[in-house]
Symmetry: C2
Subunit: 310 residues, 2 copies
C-alpha cells in the first residue's frame, strides 16, 4: 500500500511534534550577492540537519521586516535569522519572544540575543596597516551609511587605526553604501586642491571603492599611482575591477553558517547565555594599492609628531 503514491504529510507532523524543522531568514535584498552568500551558508548547514529555510525580503523596510517576523512566528518556525533593516532598530522591541533569533552582519542598538558579526574594526585596521606599510601617511576614508552598525564601526575603526599610529585622517566623507555615493564622494575630494589629497583611500565597502575607481578614471586620476584605494567586503566583482581592487574580505558564507549553527544549538537548548560571535576578515591585496610615490613619501602634512609643516 505504501508502494503506490504515499507521501508523508509534514505539516501534520509539525503540528503534532510542535516543531516545523523550518527556520525563517529575513534579509534586505536577495539580489545582493553578499546576502546571497549569507543565505548559502545558512542553507548548507540547515540542509545538513534536515531543516528548510523560509525567506523574506525586506528591502530595508522596517515595516516589511516586522511583518515577516510575525508571519514566520505564526508559522511556527523553529528559529529566526535576521539581517536587520537599515533604519530598523525598532525591531528589538517587536521580536516574537517565543522563538530563538540570531542577528547576522548587523546588530541593532539594544540587541540582547545571539548575533554573528564581522570584526569591522579589525578589518579596517588591516587595511590601514597595509597602507601604512606601503608608506602612506595621508590616508582618507570614504564612508558608508552611519545609521547601520557596520557603517559606524568602520568609520570609527578607521579613526582609531590612524590614532593608534599618531596619524590624522586626511579626508573623511560619508554617504549611502552605493556606487554612486562613492563616485560623488570621490568627485568632491577631487575638487579640493591637489596638494591636500590623501595618497590613499579606504572605502567602507567595495561599492564605494568601485565608485571611486570610476570617478578617478573620469578625472584622470591614476589608480594606484596617484592614489591607492582599498575596499571592504571583497565582492566577486572586486577582482574584476580595473585595476583589481585590494579589499578586506568578509567571509559571508561563513557568517551564515556560523549563525545557523548557533541558532540550531539554541533551538536544541545546548547554548548558554546569548553570545555574539565575531568572525575575522582577511585582507586581499590586489593592484589598486601600491607604495606611496616618492614625492609624497616624506610629506609632512599629517605625519605624527612633525609639527614643523602645519
Amino acid at each position: 500500500m505504501v508502494e503506490l503514491g504515499y507521501r508523508p504529510n509534514k505539516v501534520a507532523r509539525a503540528l503534532t511534534l510542535q516543531r516545523t524543522n523550518t527556520v525563517g531568514m529575513v534579509i534586505p535584498d536577495v539580489a545582493n550577492p553578499f546576502f546571497g552568500e549569507l543565505m548559502r551558508g545558512v542553507e548548507e548547514v540547515a540542509r545538513g540537519i534536515g531543516c528548510c529555510v523560509l525567506f523574506g525580503n525586506t528591502d530595508n523596510n522596517p515595516v516589511e521586516e516586522r511583518r515577516y517576523l510575525t508571519e514566520f512566528s505564526e508559522r511556527r518556525v523553529d528559529g529566526l535569522l535576521v539581517v536587520v533593516a537599515a533604519g530598523g532598530d525598532g525591531i528589538v522591541s517587536a521580536l516574537p519572544s517565543s522563538v530563538p533569533v540570531v542577528a547576522l552582519d548587523r546588530v541593532p542598538e539594544g540587541w540582547s540575543a545571539d548575533a554573528v558579526v564581522v570584526d569591522n574594526r579589525h578589518g579596517i585596521e588591516q587595511a590601514v596597516a597595509h597602507l601604512v606599510k606601503l608608506g602612506h601617511r595621508r590616508i582618507g576614508f570614504i564612508g558608508g551609511d552611519q545609521t547601520q552598525s557596520t557603517g559606524r564601526e568602520r568609520r570609527s575603526g578607521f579613526e582609531e587605526a590612524l590614532a593608534r599610529r599618531g596619524l590624522e585622517p586626511a579626508w573623511i566623507s560619508e554617504g549611502p553604501f552605493s556606487l554612486d555615493s562613492g563616485h560623488a564622494q570621490a568627485d568632491h575630494l577631487f575638487r579640493q586642491p591637489r596638494s591636500r589629497w590623501p595618497t590613499a583611500l579606504v572605502a567602507a565597502n567595495d561599492l564605494l571603492a568601485l565608485g571611486v575607481l570610476a570617478a578617478a578614471r573620469e578625472a584622470s586620476v591614476a589608480i594606484p599611482d596617484d592614489l591607492s584605494v582599498c575596499g571592504f567586503d571583497d565582492i566577486a566583482y572586486a577582482a574584476l575591477a580595473v585595476p583589481p581592487l585590494t579589499s578586506v574580505r568578509q567571509p559571508a558564507r561563513e557568517i551564515g553558517a556560523q549563525a545557523a549553527r548557533l541558532l540550531f544549538d539554541r533551538i536544541e537548548g545546548r547554548a548558554g547565555p546569548p553570545q555574539t560571535r565575531v568572525v575575522r576578515t582577511t585582507l586581499i591585496v590586489r593592484a589598486s594599492t601600491t607604495k606611496v610615490a616618492p614625492t609624497d613619501a616624506g610629506s609632512p602634512a599629517t605625519a605624527a609628531g612633525d609639527s614643523s609643516a602645519s
Copy 2:
C-alpha cells in the same frame, strides 16, 4: 483574552485548509545575482497575496534538486518554482505530480508543464543586428554550456542570425558559463593569426564577455577598437566593466514575477492548458562595441556572396 499574547497557529490552519500558502523555489545558487533577482520577483508577487517562499539551493546538483522537490511536496507547498539544474533533465520524471510546477529560465527536455523563459534567440538576434549595423561582417561567438537550454539556444540563435544575413560565423567556441572560460576561449582566439580574427564577438553571457575583456587587456587587444564585444544578461557588473559592456538584458525580476503569477493562477485553477511564457530581452548599448575599423570594413573574408576571397 486575545489581547495578551495570542498568535494564530498557521500550521494547524494549513492542515485544516489543506493549503499552506507557501511555494517552494529551487535554484542553483542564491549567491548568483541573476537568481537572486528571480527570487525577488517571485517574493514580491508572493508577498502580495500573503504567500511565503521556501527556498532550496541545488548547486546545479540534480540529486539535491530531487531531494528538495520531494521535501517541498511533503511539506505540502501549494506550488513549485524551479530553475532546473544544469544536467538535470531527469527531473521531468521525478516531479511530484500532485503539485503545480513552473520552470524558470531554463526548460528541460520533455517539459510539459508551465514555464517562463527568455527569448534567447531573439536576444542574440538583437546583438547581431546591432553589430551588423555598426558595419561588422566578421562576427564570432564565445559560447556557454551546451547542456543547458540557454546555452544551446544562444548558440543556435547566433548561427541563425548570421545565416539570415548570409554571413558565416567567423569564430565559434564554447565552454562553461564562467569568467575563466571566457578568458580561455579568448586566449585561444588570440593565438590565431590576426588576419583571421573577427571584428566583433558575441558572448553567450556576461561572465564570458568579462573574461574576454580581461584576456584582451592582457593581450593588449583594444576593446572596442580592435574588437567589439557584446555580452548577455546585463548583470550589474556589466555597467562597471572597463569598457562598460554592451549587453542583452534579461529582465530577471520580471521573469520571476511572471512565473509566480502563472503559478498562482494555476493554483487557483484559473489557468488553461500548460503554457510557456516568453519574455523579451533588451539590448543595452555601452562602450564595448563600436563601428568596425575602416580597414576591416570591406574585408571579404566571410561576407555574403563574396566568394572571391575564400
